[in-house]
């Protein structure tokens, strides 16, 4: 398979990148790892006339802790960078574990956080756990930058609020009161399979009482979604198996999955019930795993 012709730029700065995107308008697309966009170009779903590679933006490659801000993850960080990060293993192993379950080793060395988010596929593995941890995303464009909760970025399948001249530069996991978090992915194979359902949770538990909870679901709606009724239900309650089972039932009532080649809507709904229960249990008992 060969790609159609396009022009290529590899700017040296974020400002120059945004400038090029603004100049070429909808004819241009960003390329980070390429694991989504090259496939789409081969399948003739996309035919950008210009690709703007962000490979030279070294500042987007960091994972670091900034006191008072949180864990800052650059957009060009790959899935394997997340998976193997010592900092994340210490603070939020739930994030590295989510990344380690993605795709396969080769694609994990190529695919980036920014690409996974911008692509806005409902089944993408990284948004749910970042949303559960209340992450924000920073967008930079020709007219400056803006920061928003990650969950507000998505507007539909393949759609985000990103303007033509904007790129994602970083994602920040703020300092947490949450005592535990966990992501469970269900795919049809152990490796190289997209999520049929993904459930991410974060909880703040003190003396066996849930003080706060966030639940984010992937692959069961047009965008990653919060299960807000489930979160409200959990707050202030004492942890018991019955409570977590009931939370699962409520979460399964909050999703609106579709039936497709991988699973029926009914099956997905039931998976949400089971995985919400299990992910809560893990986060409560084991912390950020």
């Amino acid at each position: 398979m060969y790609l159609p012709d396009f022009e290529y730029y590899a700017p040296e700065s974020i400002a120059e990148t945004c400038q090029l995107l603004s100049q070429f308008g909808p004819r241009a697309k960003v390329i980070a790892g390429g694991s989504d966009i090259i496939v789409k170009m081969k399948k003739e779903v996309l035919a950008p006339e210009v690709l703007v590679s962000i490979k030279n933006l070294a500042e987007l490659k960091k994972i670091e802790y900034v006191p008072g801000k949180g864990v800052v993850v650059g957009a060009r960080v790959t899935h394997n960078d997340l998976y193997k990060s010592k900092l994340l293993a210490e603070k939020y192993a739930s994030v590295s574990n989510a990344a380690g379950q993605m795709a396969d080793n080769q694609v994990r060395n190529i695919g980036t956080l920014g690409g996974n988010i911008s692509n806005a596929v409902p089944s993408a593995d990284l948004p749910p756990i970042f949303i559960a941890l209340n992450a924000t995303v920073k967008l930079e464009g020709v007219n400056g930058e803006r920061t928003m909760p990650l969950e507000d970025l998505f507007t539909g399948p393949g759609k985000t609020v990103l303007a033509q001249d904007e790129i994602i530069t970083e994602v920040v996991i703020p300092d947490q009161k949450m005592t535990g978090s966990n992501y469970i992915k269900f795919g049809l194979r152990k490796s190289g399979a997209l999520a049929v359902v993904g459930v991410a949770v974060a909880v703040e538990v003190e003396n066996n009482v849930i003080k706060d909870a966030r639940v984010a679901l992937g692959a069961v709606a047009a965008t990653p979604v919060r299960a807000k009724k489930t979160e409200e239900f959990l707050k202030g309650k004492t942890v018991t198996d019955e409570l977590l089972a009931e939370a699962g039932v409520i979460a399964s009532g909050e999703c609106k999955p579709i039936s497709d080649i991988r699973a029926s809507a009914e099956y997905r709904t039931d998976l949400v019930r089971v995985f919400t229960k299990r992910a809560l249990r893990k986060a409560i008992d084991e912390g950020h795993v």
């Binding site: 012709d5 290529y8 690709l51 190529i110």
Partner: protein, 167 residues
Amino acid sequence: MSNFIVDKSGIKRYLVSVKINGSEYTRVVKANTLLVNFLREDLDLIGTKKGCELGDCGCCTVMLDGKPVNSCLVLAVDVDGREVTTIEGIANGEELDIVQEKFIEHAAYQCGYCTSGMIISSRALLNENPSPTEHEVREAIAGNLCRCTGYVNIVEAVLAAAEAEKK
């Protein structure tokens, strides 16, 4: 910014300098040239195979700066200034790498089509983790599909290579 020339028909061609298997190559490529095609067609390094060409099968696996990637998903222009290892760079001249030797000893291939990618993934694993568990070997080659033998002999070969290398 990338260096480029514009040919007679107005098409831009970009300068790429890349170290492959220890040697420096400088070529002029079109932006749409994929790394796998660059290796096979421009450099005659046909040990790297093309299978699904969508990043699923792993036949085209090469190391990019030491890490295995699918060369069917990477633009040749994007590897400017970087280092690539293909299957041709695994043996030391006439002397096979221990992974290659163990693949032979354990009959870890049949048609051979997935083998280049399998060996690249396995070699990269052992470079990073000299004593992998069976599970870690299976994880490392999960993106390399074999449709002939199954994976039992392959996993045995990689574990045997790790053992042999420790001595």
